[in-house]
Each structure stands twice: as structure tokens, then as C-alpha cells.
Amino acid sequence: MIRVTAEVAILAGSLLVAVASIGLHRFDDVFARLHAAGKATSLAFLLVSIGAFAHGLPARAAGELVLASVVLLVTTPVGVHVLADAAYRCGDQLSSSTTIDELADRSAPSADLDE
């Protein structure tokens, strides 16, 4: 019974990743694609790790998988933010269905990046 639930969790994580990969193609804006990539990977990793532990992965792997989950949860938003910042500064256009641009009055990239 627990094994079936664990396998359902693993399947749910894999399904999430598969749907997000389709979303990477279908979204018409680089910022929406960042949503798909960032959110799905961290949640799917959590689901698959929980499913793996419930299925009976040896406890040796517990510390490493927990570490990897925490690392992914912390670093994925940072990576997405840096990519979105770079994309906006380089002039990637927002999609036509976007109504609010909160950074519209931002100036050009400043010269103090290297300091």
C-alpha cells in the first residue's frame, strides 16, 4: 500500500516535469517559460524524493537527497531571477497578452556591474 502511494508520488513528479517541458515550447514569452522551468523542477524533485524514500530507498541516500532538494529549492528561484533580469535588460519582449510592465521606467544596464 505504501509502495503504491510512493509510486504514485514518483509518477506525479514525472508527469509534472513532462507537462512543464511541453510548456517550455508552448509559452510565447521567455518570462513565462522561466515560470515553467523553475517551479516545476523544484516541486517535482520534492515529490520524487518523497516517493523514493517511501518506496524503500536505503537510508544512506536520505541525507544526500535531502541536501539536493534543499539546494534545488534555494537556488532555483535565484537562478530564475538572474535569468529574468538578464533577459529583460537585453530587451526580450514581453508577450502581447501582458498588461502591466512594472520595470518599464528602468534605465539601461548600469556600468557598475564589474565593481
Partner: protein, 86 residues
């Protein structure tokens, strides 16, 4: 290998092929960077599911290393894009 685990591996394979298509498709460098980050995490998930199937935890440190390195690579590409343009 139960059918659900086999279906999980099939879904992960599909996801990695599709995200590779995203990397190769005409787009900016940011598109390729996020496609590669996604691809790498999908492969790491495949390693975890394979560890569940075989019961061997030999390759779990690979998952930790991959998660760290993918983040570093993404940030490096983003800084490059910010400086030089896509």
C-alpha cells in the same frame, strides 16, 4: 520494475527530449540556458528513479553535484548575457 515506475521513466525521457528541442530551437541565449537547466534536473530525476528501480544508491551523490553545478552554470550564463547581450 512496476508499470508506474516504467511510466515515470518514459515521461522523464519524453521531457528530456522535448526540453532538448527547446534548447536547439531558434531563440535567445536565455531560452537555451533555462532549457539546459531543466534538462539537467530532469536527468537527475531519472537517476533518482533508477535508484528506486535497482535499489542501489551508488549514483545519488551525482544528483547533489548536478543540482549545484546546474545552478552555477545558469548564473554564469545569465551574467554573461547581462554583460554582452543575447
Amino acid at each position: 520494475m512496476t508499470p508506474m515506475l516504467a511510466a515515470s521513466l518514459a515521461l522523464l525521457t519524453f521531457a528530456s527530449v522535448v526540453s532538448l528541442g527547446r534548447v536547439l530551437r531558434h531563440g535567445s541565449l536565455v531560452d537555451r540556458a533555462l532549457g539546459l537547466d531543466f534538462l539537467v534536473v530532469t536527468l537527475a530525476l531519472g537517476v533518482v528513479v533508477d535508484a528506486v528501480v535497482t535499489g542501489s544508491t551508488l549514483f545519488i551523490p551525482l544528483v547533489v553535484a548536478v543540482a549545484l553545478v546546474a545552478f552555477l552554470a545558469t548564473v554564469a550564463v545569465a551574467r554573461f548575457v547581462e554583460r554582452n547581450g543575447a
